[in-house]
Symmetry: C2
Subunit: 322 residues, 2 copies
Amino acid sequence: MIRTLLSATALSLAATALWADPLPSWNTGETKSAIISFVDAVTDPASEDYVTPEDRIAVIDNDGTLWSEQPVYFQLFYSIDMVKKMDPSALTSDALNAAAAEDMEALLATGEEGLMEVVAAAHTDMSVAEFKTKVAEWLEEARHPTTGKRYTDMVFQPMLELLTYLRDEGFATYIVSGGGIDFVRVFSQDVYGVDASQVVGSSLVSEYVVNDGVPMLMKKPDLFFIDDKVGKPVGINHHIGKRPIFAAGNSDGDFEMLEWTTSGDAPGFGLYVHHTDAEREWAYDREGHIGVLNRGLDEGAERGWHFADMAKDWAVVFPASE
Amino acid sequence: MIRTLLSATALSLAATALWADPLPSWNTGETKSAIISFVDAVTDPASEDYVTPEDRIAVIDNDGTLWSEQPVYFQLFYSIDMVKKMDPSALTSDALNAAAAEDMEALLATGEEGLMEVVAAAHTDMSVAEFKTKVAEWLEEARHPTTGKRYTDMVFQPMLELLTYLRDEGFATYIVSGGGIDFVRVFSQDVYGVDASQVVGSSLVSEYVVNDGVPMLMKKPDLFFIDDKVGKPVGINHHIGKRPIFAAGNSDGDFEMLEWTTSGDAPGFGLYVHHTDAEREWAYDREGHIGVLNRGLDEGAERGWHFADMAKDWAVVFPASE
């Protein structure tokens, strides 16, 4: 009798594990169902859509897809905070002075050139190792100006669950970010469970130098690669060498990545995170300077892509505070 | 009694597996011992040199390290064979005409510029997918001019064993080649057991274009990255984002990769394959136009690097023919 009870308990535990909801923070609806149906189809050896594990590649944007990107990309906040620490004598331009004074209006008035100058000041003429140490320290200390949260607490709980679900189903999960590859690698493992080797991003030229017998990789001011728009499929091919079957993004900068992913011979899934939730996060799409989504909204449905409507599809946005 | 016998057999099989030689094609000697001692140390949790699996990164050159590279890099043979198939009207230069006529002397007389022209003709203005199909077909058909072997049969059996051994011990094994990333990816999985995502190499610019609704990655004639010399640590950082702990190469083009690998805080192993075997392969180092090894020979020993003397250390060079 005890043996029977134990067996029943074991069976029921097994059933629970088997049928547990892999995406508990996603509300029941078309998008959640579509994700699960797709994953079921490509992982079922009996399905005509079956994909072998070595070809289960998922590519996922970072800013606005895995974490927030308002009011500006978090990497720009990092840059401004670094400029604030610079010696005043090094503030040799309007842009650097505006950043040091945290005068966002004045900084934006300096245009793209001014912004690039601020980013460059925070990212160059140091080694990759030194840069990563600075970013790690900043992520510990810095707080978002409106939420007061750590930046790494402004990740999207439903997307963390999606990453885990995909990996549990044999996918390799890559981050494919318009942001800096060295920047994202600082927290990709701890926050997303994504190894440094599975981060694709924009980058500056780096140079190998040996100083007093010590080799270093120095970050130089010239752009090496811009991992955005048409650059995303290029970066994906360069780093992965295979066409993905699952892509998620949130802006027109991700359009080509979704297009590339869903145009192969294998089945492909395209997902757009749609920022519709002004209460819990931000609401924006067609207008503005960050995360603009026009072509994706216009063409996504006819291309068979799916939309995560943040207000409707997500029961939770950010992970619960500890 | 039977049960005892069975147990004894099981134990002895287990012991055989445990003590089986992981590098059977390596002769007993300092280099083989050093490799095994290093792997034992970094995989033993009780060792002060222990390295966690996620940081066990091995980087291994291709031409001259995993397969032969004489009388010229095999990718140049590929290029010449493609030029031979070109329409005669497209042979608009001395270099292209020399290649089409298989006149190596005349081709070499056109210098680096001429060689680049031949390589470019075989590598550009086609999609990455088309290029890979052509390379795969060529690898099936082509035979090496002096050995008569398939090129993929001219891989080094001891190095195949080393790759397997490292992976069995929890290493991620990356190929870091001066050759083309798209070229090596065609056979890296089948021949070396290395996934496309773990191949680092030189590359041309590729461009994302959509023709009649079909997206493609087109190979352009401009160089994107040269994965050689100081470029190797840069390429490693770009693709892997971590410093390796094991590096193998065969020429001065690998010097900086070995230097970078053996200069970290973690223990690092540097291995040079030394081509000393004119009978079974080729003998060359300080002289010539391919795989020149000078600085490595001069400084390797004092840097604690190890040399696989092909004639002395390898019981077998190429895998046995079927």
